[in-house]
């Protein structure tokens, strides 16, 4: 079959690429920039509305809240509560990134193979598993945390902890990981499963008929084809873990007043001897009356979340034209 005998080469224009539709991109950009604009304006309004705070004298502050404004809290009278000068903020950020990273890695390591299994195989109780993890997404996180408390404080898991001389609930490091893991895993799992569902199993069957083992077919065909969805799932799991508030608060408690002996040597070495992570720190600062400080932290979380969602959209919209 020579080139001359194959006039098909000239038939038909090249198929259009599978980039995101222009309408979708416009809609997303409109939403993204409106949202960002609203945040900027709203934060400006808050700063301006509380402008008088910038001029409060230290003496006045001391007289109003003498106990609270002791020690290193002088900076709180500066712009946005001077959060960047406060070790409390950096330890919160450190804790947030540390726990979120561990949670995301753990959720991905377990969730991606689990999602593949749920997508490709007939597993007994598959519907129950799917309903369970979908339910976690729609019920309040505080309810999830209460379920976790009951699960870890009674029954076989409690006995196991007693034997090890350890407690998951109301502990800092494993407690926070568990609370954020459950929610980020549930969200990640649904995204990863959708990513594998979108890849027709026929591709793997063809790959295997050409001599690939099951693992090679997965590695060379399904995984690259699902990679955008998988990456989007990782980002979703990351943002969900980072944004978690009530589950962590319920399962791990409020940590503002934890004595130093509650922190392990490892935790102290990793400089996470500060128990409030960012979402809890926002609440703590608002409770203390530091509205600007709290708002600045919220703004940072919103910024990280917004950028993550934007990155997810960019990755998710990527086609196979390269």
């Amino acid at each position: 079959m020579s080139g001359e005998r194959n006039p098909l080469a000239a038939i038909g224009p090249a198929a259009p690429g599978r980039r995101g539709a222009p309408g979708d991109r416009l809609l997303f950009k409109t939403f993204f920039y409106s949202f960002a604009g609203f945040l900027i304006l709203f934060s400006a309004y808050l700063f301006l509305a509380n402008l008088d705070q910038l001029f409060v004298t230290e003496a006045a502050v001391r007289s109003r809240e003498p106990a609270l404004w002791e020690e290193n809290r002088k900076v709180l009278t500066s712009f946005a509560g001077g959060f960047w000068q406060d070790p409390y903020f950096w330890k919160s950020l450190n804790l947030t990134l540390m726990i979120t990273l561990i949670t995301t890695l753990l959720a991905s390591a377990i969730g991606i193979p689990a999602a593949y299994g749920l997508s490709r195989y007939r597993i007994p109780g598959k519907a129950v598993i799917e309903v369970l993890f979908s339910s976690i997404l729609v019920i309040p996180a505080s309810s999830v945390a209460l379920c976790l408390i009951v699960m870890f404080n009674y029954g076989p898991l409690w006995d196991l902890q007693q034997r090890w001389g350890f407690r998951f609930a109301h502990s800092l490091f494993p407690g926070m990981v568990i609370a954020s893991f459950v929610l980020s895993f549930a969200l990640g799992l649904s995204a990863w499963k959708a990513a594998f569902d979108s890849v027709n199993p026929r591709f793997e069957q063809v790959a295997r008929s050409l001599g690939s083992s099951r693992w090679r077919a997965f590695r060379t065909v399904s995984l690259p084809m699902a990679k955008s969805g998988l990456a989007a799932g990782v980002i979703l799991a990351w943002t969900r873990a980072m944004a978690e508030f009530s589950a962590v608060l319920f399962f791990c408690g409020t940590f503002g007043e934890l004595p130093p002996e509650r922190f392990s040597t490892l935790e102290r070495a990793l400089r996470i001897d500060q128990a409030d992570w960012l979402s809890v720190a926002i609440w703590a600062q608002i409770e203390y009356g530091n509205v600007e400080y709290g708002f600045a932290l919220a703004y940072i979380l919103v910024l990280i979340g917004g950028l993550s969602v934007y990155a997810m959209h960019r990755i998710g919209a990527k086609g196979y034209i390269w």
Partner: protein, 341 residues
């Protein structure tokens, strides 16, 4: 040589019953049947996507039933070709060679050879999304043939193509199969498509293999009314045979056979002869009146009333009009008596 022995199994709502079929080396066999007949399920059993409940699949005498898909060395080209969208044309063709750990130099040589023989050398760096239907099919065939499999399974390979391209690609499929001396099993539900490529056809219905043979054999002697209808034998009438004659609605035809009793009489429209005048002495010659005349691309189709309404295809310069009276001969050798479906 591929042999399927007493294969039975159920996949979802599809159930295959006692399939026995053999495919010779270098043969082009078409599995033909209506939608839902079980053709695709049968090739999925062959490729190893599903395991049959009963029976065996033998390739060159070796029972491949317990083998995994990758161990069977049977290439599979699905309906949508399933080109890997993350690999370019060249890498798609080389995929099977890499999977089977061919030496690198050998992979390059065979891939180049395939690209050239398929006339798609200029597409080597293109991604599958940027290919037309015909180009996709060539890449899929190249990928399947590159490793020289023992059998190539094609699941409705022409169904995604337009009419003109289908004719051309069917010719190319046949050329490719012969030049590679490969064994092809091609699934389709289109009689014309099958007739363009097949050495033999195997007709399936409702999970059963109904008839296997060359196209001429099956057309001349369909096993039952279903096969006759599926192969577009339009003239089918309930009949009673007595070994020497066949009676249909009071009309008597000469037909010597060993068959006796109630059957369906089948005769293909292209096998009915038209005589301008009724000649005496010819058996099975009747006077008929043309009821309809429909021009087709290469012949005229007439509906003629001889006491039965018959469809007749006529190739020739002479044209008849509605109302014309002429002689209609039903040659005895083209009359088939088949079982009711």
């Amino acid at each position: 040589m591929i042999e399927i022995r007493n294969l039975s199994g159920t996949v979802g709502e599809f159930c295959l019953q006692n399939i026995n079929l053999s495919v010779r080396d270098g043969e082009y066999l078409v599995l033909l049947g209506p939608t839902g007949a079980g053709k695709t399920v049968l090739i999925e059993y062959l490729v190893g996507i599903y395991r049959q409940q009963e029976g065996a699949i033998l390739v060159d005498g070796e029972d491949v039933t317990p083998l995994y898909t990758e161990e069977r060395h049977i290439a599979y080209v699905p309906q949508d070709y399933a080109l890997f969208p993350n690999l370019n044309v060249s890498r798609n063709i080389a995929y099977g060679l890499e999977a089977r750990r061919f030496p690198r130099a050998e992979i390059s040589r065979i891939t180049e050879q395939m690209l050239e023989s398929l006339g798609i050398g200029h597409l080597r760096h293109r991604m599958p999304l940027n290919l037309s239907g015909g180009e996709k099919q060539r890449v899929a065939l190249g990928r399947a043939l590159a490793t020289r499999p023992r059998l190539v399974l094609l699941d409705e390979p022409l169904s995604a193509l337009d009419e003109n391209l289908r004719t051309q690609m069917s010719r190319e499929l046949r050329d490719l199969q012969q030049s590679n001396r490969a064994t092809f099993v091609h699934v389709c539900h289109n009689f014309e498509e099958a007739s363009a490529v097949a050495d033999r056809i195997a007709i399936m219905d409702n999970g059963c293999l109904v008839q296997v043979g060359t196209l001429e054999q099956v057309k001349a002697q369909p096993r039952n009314e279903f096969v006759a209808r599926f192969l577009k034998t339009q003239n089918l009438f309930p009949a009673v045979a007595d070994g020497a004659t066949v009676r249909i609605h009071g009309i008597q035809l000469e037909k010597k056979s060993t068959i006796r009793g109630e059957r369906v009489m089948a005769i293909r429209p292209e096998n009915i002869r038209i005589h301008p005048d009724t000649e005496s002495g010819r058996p099975n010659l009747f006077r008929g009146v043309i009821l309809e005349a429909v021009p087709r691309p290469h012949f005229m189709e007439y509906i003629v009333d001889i006491g039965l309404k018959l469809a007749v295809f006529h190739i020739g310069e002479r044209r008849y009009r509605v109302g014309d009276s002429l002689g209609i001969e039903l040659p005895q050798e083209h009359i088939a008596l088949v079982e009711r479906a």
